[in-house]
């Protein structure tokens, strides 16, 4: 264990003398692999990928032509794709108490309406507001306690889960609904193409020949509750959030800090809060975008953090693409399935691991013992976020 790691774990943040440990009672997801968490888990374990040619917009001007789009997602006449996506997510969700606080997470909300405006089509301008998903969710469930949207780039919904857990742990809320949502748009696709960050074929996280990321549509919803309130409402917990940590690299706005210090800080803060030690972690759900720099930074951080022990580590982005703000919430939902089944899903797209990841990542499912899983995300602006789930 490095000095930085031991220093950070020895002075952990405190949840107080009578700590409330938040529980997750509901988890649903929609990705290019289909509607529902069960479907997603089964297809992940079978090694399937939703990355395929994009037909939503022309891609011949860009450095790639593939993404993990939801095939039958139809753009409404005057609105954004986020609405049919959210409607399908709502169909999967059980009842939500009106006094539930809402935290949405989106990076660009309905930015696809800009494409409509540019081509002279009717469009609801309100969809470009990053608050528009929150407005839709509040309306769908008649929520009375208000809500916010969190924007922290690709770590948005991981940060949203951390804040939801903090609200519950601080006794400021009994229940928080976290909804992460983003769709593949030409706006975002063109930007990652301009940054030369897109893989021409489906992305290959942690592979020695990885050459970029694949984007994906995605949405997920999680209900995070005070354990006592969950018991009273007869909502059995799917798992607990026993630690969270968010940090900034303070190094670069688009590239990850190559020594992994920022991610180590986030993981160490989460670990300190959880009261666990690195040896207690059974598996890691990595951000694993498939870009040269992200994957190398993550392995540098994990190797420093865990020392010689090779912890089963996986990325789901070869299967569902990088779903931006939704990715953290989707990965929490998948993490709960991994804990339930005591198995790490395969890293789809992986053929030959990069040297730093040999013995860590696998293209087959890996069984594990133990009940703690670390999930992390990092994003533009230098943000890193880590959650420790117990199941």
């Amino acid at each position: 264990m490095s000095t930085l790691v031991s220093d950070l774990i020895s002075s952990p943040p405190s949840k107080g003398t009578e700590a409330i440990v938040p529980v997750i009672t509901d988890a649903v997801a929609i990705t290019g692999l289909g509607d529902g968490l069960g479907v997603l888990w089964q297809k992940l374990m079978r090694g399937l990928s939703a990355v395929r040619p994009v037909d939503r917009f022309r891609t011949d001007r860009y450095t790639a032509g593939v993404a993990a789009c939801i095939e039958d997602l139809t753009t409404p006449p005057d609105g954004s794709l986020i609405h049919p996506l959210l409607d399908r997510l709502f169909c999967q969700m059980g009842p939500i108490s009106p006094d539930t606080f809402l935290i949405t997470a989106t990076t660009k909300a309905g930015i696809d309406v800009l494409e409509k405006i540019q081509t002279g089509m009717p469009a609801d301008l309100q969809d470009v507001s990053l608050l528009s998903p929150a407005v839709a969710v509040m309306k769908a469930f008649n929520l009375t306690e208000g809500g916010i949207n969190i924007s922290a780039a690709c770590a948005s919904s991981t940060v949203a889960v951390a804040r939801a857990a903090a609200m519950v742990a601080s006794n400021r809320a009994n229940a928080v609904l976290v909804c992460g949502v983003d769709v593949v748009t030409e706006f975002v696709f063109s930007g990652f193409s301009a940054l030369k960050a897109l893989s021409p074929a489906a992305c290959r996280p942690f592979d020695r020949n990885r050459n970029g990321l694949s984007l994906g549509d995605g949405a997920a919803a999680l209900v995070i509750m005070n354990p006592e309130a969950a018991r009273r409402k007869k909502r059995p917990p799917l798992g607990k959030i026993i630690g969270w940590g968010v940090s900034n690299d303070a190094a670069h706005i688009t590239a990850p800090d190559q020594n992994g210090t920022g991610l180590i800080r986030a993981v160490s803060r989460a670990m300190g809060m959880s009261g666990k030690l690195p040896d207690d972690i059974s598996a890691v759900c990595a951000h694993g975008t498939g870009t040269l720099f992200n994957d190398r930074m993550e392995m540098t951080a994990f190797r420093q953090f865990f020392g010689p022990r090779r912890v089963p580590t996986y990325s789901i982005k070869g299967a569902v693409g990088h779903t931006l703000a939704a990715t953290g919430a989707i990965e929490v939902a998948v993490g709960l399935q991994a804990l339930k089944n005591r198995a790490a899903p395969p890293t789809i797209g992986l053929q030959e691991p990069m040297s730093e990841a040999v013995g860590w990542v696998n293209n087959e499912p890996v069984a594990f013992a133990g009940n703690c899983l670390l999930t992390t995300n990092s994003g533009f602006g230098g943000v890193n976020a880590a959650l420790i789930l117990e199941g």
């Binding site: 943040p13 507001s129 990053l130 969190i150 922290a152 948005s156 900034n248 670069h252 920022g262 803060r269």
Partner: protein, 243 residues
């Protein structure tokens, strides 16, 4: 939950600077001043020229809040976080970027502009400029100048997630028809919050989040961040008169 405000900085249509340098605070519905790199960040900060107007305004207000608390100089990175609210975020930059995506002979989407099409990018700039490694993110809430960022920052301090927290907001005007999204005035305001201030000279006063989710400064209930600036400044002036 309790914290102490030790620094306030802003960029509004009437002024840009540290609260300690002004007698009044106003946030009128007028264009913001141009933020020049040299005036705000000093001649040695090379990244200021690349930023969009939203980032410059937000970063300047963060810089002024830290300077107001005498915390703008640093040698070691610090566990200070930032939570910033916004209404329009980087929408103007989004529009500028999307112009570069229009089909044309000169089609060349700008990677430099794309990097600023996330509302939290400027928090990364602030982290780099001032060595801030704490949690940082942007929120959108329904009330303009609302108190959610302040509440989340106080919660973060209470849980020991950061040693100090900056919180505030930054919103800029956007062109029609998108201006319908904006309800509050343009501007950027940030507060530095601490649990136990090292230096009491710059303290404005205590802020409290009660069990009913209400914010109080001293004993006055606060309804929005603009009112908090005014009351905090008045409180410090009154204390300075006494001493």
């Amino acid at each position: 939950m309790n914290a102490v405000i030790t620094g306030i900085g802003w960029v509004t249509a009437t002024a840009a600077g540290c609260a300690g340098d002004f007698k009044d605070f106003a946030m009128p519905e007028k264009p913001l001043p141009d933020i020049t790199s040299r005036a705000i960040f000093g001649p040695l900060y090379p990244y200021a020229r690349r930023m969009d107007a939203y980032s410059k305004s937000g970063l300047a207000a963060v810089a002024f809040a830290l300077k107001d608390a005498d915390q703008d100089q640093w040698t070691e990175k610090r566990n200070i976080g930032i939570i910033a609210a916004t209404e329009t975020g980087c929408l103007k930059t989004d529009l500028d970027y999307f112009e570069t995506v229009k089909p044309s002979k000169d089609f060349q989407p700008s990677p430099a502009l794309f990097s600023y099409t996330l509302p939290n990018t400027y928090l990364g700039e602030a982290a780099i400029r001032f060595g801030l490694t704490g949690p940082n993110f942007v929120i959108h809430e329904q009330a303009p100048l609302g108190l959610s960022a302040l509440k989340l920052a106080m919660e973060s301090l209470e849980l020991g997630e950061a040693e100090k927290m900056l919180c505030g907001f930054c919103s800029l005007a956007v062109p029609a028809p998108f201006d319908a999204i904006r309800k509050g005035p343009p501007g950027a305001v940030f507060f530095l919050l601490e649990k136990l201030p090292e230096d009491t000279a710059s303290v404005y006063g205590p802020v409290r989040l009660d069990r009913k989710n209400r914010i109080f400064f001293n004993r006055t209930q606060i309804e929005d961040l603009a009112v908090l600036v005014q009351i905090a400044m008045a409180s410090r002036r009154a204390r300075q008169r006494k001493t």
